[in-house]
């Protein structure tokens, strides 16, 4: 069964008197274990598509099946549940909660799931370990480098045991070295754990790590290429 199936997704905004067609009939299928890059210039609709895939928003028209479930018509609370259990987010600006320890940041999805505190901590520490950030559990985001903060964010996405990790320009705020490390971690999670990852980027160096490249323009998918990913840099 495909992990993601989108059929003729439309998203229309009203900005004042103007109707903006951000998505114009996007159809897309992503299989479990794929590592996909979503590319396109700004305004191409890739952020809108990412929001829809991440269940942060609902389409104006069309269908979206996530793990076999039609989520296009789900209510707010249902969407929150789906985000909590099925989707992990990694953002360009990390979006960690300030003055809150790395461990507590990672605990957050489990906290909203209502897990006992002890389990939250164990799982969170485990996820931080998987993201390569052991020993900094009690650091605040402000005490961590950009690369380290992004690892905390990845751990937060991993901890929920989500089916898919959505990364929106994950290396956009990082230097070359940190970017390479973050992409290596993502690639590793994809290859070793079979985690499905969708990276939104306009950086072809980032896209080079992935095995499939989607290109968007004017709210439509205009290209869908599979390729052999670049070699992993040695860690």
């Amino acid at each position: 069964m495909s992990l993601i199936v989108c059929q003729d997704l439309w998203k229309v905004y009203r900005l004042g008197d103007v109707r903006v067609q951000a998505l114009r009939g996007v159809s897309l299928t992503i299989e479990p274990g794929e590592f996909v890059a979503l590319m396109g210039t700004s305004g191409s609709g890739k952020s809108t598509l990412m929001n829809l895939l991440g269940c942060l928003d609902t389409p104006t028209k069309g269908h979206y099946w996530l793990n076999g479930r039609d989520v296009a018509s789900a209510g707010q609370d249902e969407l929150a549940d789906i985000r909590n259990r099925q989707i992990g987010f990694v953002f360009q600006n990390f979006n960690l909660i300030p003055r809150t320890s790395a461990l507590e940041n990672v605990q957050l999805p489990l906290f909203y799931r209502g897990l006992p505190l002890r389990e939250q901590r164990t799982h969170a520490a485990d996820a931080l370990n998987r993201a390569g950030l052991t020993g900094r559990e009690q650091h605040f985001p402000s005490q961590l480098s950009g690369g380290q903060q992004q690892r905390v964010a990845i751990a937060r996405a991993l901890v929920a045991g989500s089916a898919i990790l959505l990364a929106d320009e994950p290396t956009g705020n990082l230097d070359t070295e940190s970017s390479r490390e973050i992409m290596a971690i993502l690639a590793d999670l994809n290859r070793r754990d079979g985690l499905t990852i969708l990276v939104v980027t306009h950086d072809s160096d980032v896209a080079a790590y992935t095995s499939r490249e989607l290109l968007m323009k004017d709210g439509q998918l205009i290209a869908d290429r599979h390729r052999i990913p670049a070699e992993l840099p040695t860690q």
Binding site: D57, D77, A80, T100
Partner: protein, 411 residues
């Protein structure tokens, strides 16, 4: 759910701890409001209790009848100007108003009292033997005036503590000694235990009691025998007072041959009436105080709302992140409501501490009696919590209704 609330409270404390000054200033309105209420309520309670205690010293279920003003040929005299109440009235009341356990009578004048080389000017009361029991006087030494003393117009006296303090050396035994009232020698047969101030602020212990007959025949002098200054009565139950008052009025009007269109030539007051007058003043104070408290709680609540709106704006991105990782609207709503209630309750608790401290200071510095009512503490806590909840609703709702995408993108 419990884990959620506990952890949200931890978060709330952390957020408040980050901005201690801001949180403190926000809570100031609540602190002042609650503090003022606690302090004023305890002062009010203290005053009320003091009045109640003073009124209670008058006697138990006491009724007092004074001769009223009288109009003779169109000239109105002052209250007590009529010489209308007599010993016979008092005796007849006891017979005809069954609710009255006993009646007594008294007549007073201020006179010179001498013991050895000391003298004092004190009120001398000629009383019936029943009077002391009706007024709940007890003795520290000796005993009361007896019926035999009354019949014999004996020269015996019972004296209050203030008289003892002023006429005797410390350690000197008053009972059995002889004092002179207006140069007439009296043997002291009893010393009364102190009652303190009356509700009107007079010293109740500055008093000398002698038999009524002795007073009117040997000291005060009287145009007619049997004219009394006041008649006293008591009932066994507090609830019987109104009915007893009606009975007394009926009997006295009949005895004084008053026509139905004539006003009473006497005035009846019960202990309850006297207490009410005193408590009326503190009622006014209570109303004023609640007005002040409401205003400062309102101002405090608006402060909480204001700071929460700022907080929601500041933490828009955080709200977005929380929503992205699975927080439902009610989680966000709860988070801000808990923060608001924490602010309110914390402010309330600090206000309670300040209020109690304020009341203590009033007691030590100004000597006002204060009573910290546990009820006012509970009510203040609940109120500050409710204020936090009420004024937190709007900001919390605003936060919960944020669109996750907009919140995440907020700069």
């Amino acid at each position: 759910m419990l884990t959620f609330i506990a952890m949200t409270m931890v978060t709330a404390f952390r957020v408040l701890g980050r901005n201690r000054l801001r949180a403190g200033l926000t809570m100031l309105g609540i602190i002042i409001g609650v503090g003022a209420v606690i302090a004023l309520v305890s002062i009010g309670q203290g005053a009320k209790e003091a009045v109640r205690a003073q009124v209670a010293t008058m006697g138990t279920n006491l009724i007092i009848v004074w001769p009223g003003s009288t109009t003779v040929a169109g000239v109105r005299s002052a209250q007590g100007g009529a010489v209308t109440l007599t010993v016979a009235d008092a005796l007849d009341l006891k017979k005809k108003v069954p609710l009255l356990v006993d009646t007594g009578w008294a007549k007073r004048d201020v006179m010179q009292v001498i013991n050895g080389n000391k003298n004092w000017n004190g009120p001398v009361n000629g009383i019936s033997p029943s009077y002391l029991a009706i007024r709940d006087w007890s003795f520290t030494g000796g005993g009361p005036i007896s019926q035999a003393d009354l019949e014999a117009a004996a020269r015996v006296a019972v004296i209050g503590q203030t008289i003892v303090d002023n006429l005797y050396e410390p350690g000197e035994e008053p009972v059995g000694s002889t004092i002179r009232i207006k140069n007439v020698p009296f043997r002291v047969v009893g010393v009364l235990s102190p009652k303190g101030q009356s509700a009107q602020g007079t010293d109740q212990d500055d008093v000398i009691f002698i038999p009524f007959t002795t007073a009117e025949r040997k000291l005060l002098g009287t145009p007619f025998l049997g004219i009394v200054g006041a008649v006293f009565g008591s009932t066994s139950r507090l609830d019987d007072l109104p009915e007893a008052v009606d009975g007394i009025r009926e009997v006295l009007r009949a005895r004084h041959r008053l026509q139905s269109d004539q006003a009473d030539d006497f005035t009846i007051r019960t202990q309850v009436d006297i207490g009410k007058v005193q408590e009326g003043a503190s009622e006014t104070l209570t109303v004023m105080m609640f007005a002040i408290a409401s205003i400062s709680l309102l101002v405090g609540g608006i402060g909480i709302m204001n700071i929460l709106l700022v907080s929601v704006t500041e933490r828009t991105r955080e709200i977005g992140v929380r929503m992205a990782v699975g927080a439902k609207r009610r989680h966000i709503l709860m988070q801000f409501l808990i923060e608001a209630m924490t602010l309110g309750l914390l402010g309330g608790l600090m206000g309670i501490v300040f209020g109690i401290a304020g009341a203590r200071v009033m007691t030590t510095v100004a000597g006002w009696p204060t009573i910290i009512a546990p009820g006012s503490i509970v009510i203040a806590s609940v109120f500050s919590l409710v204020v936090g909840l009420f004024f937190g609703l709007y900001p919390a709702n605003k936060a919960a209704r944020l669109n996750p995408i907009d919140a995440l993108r907020y700069e």
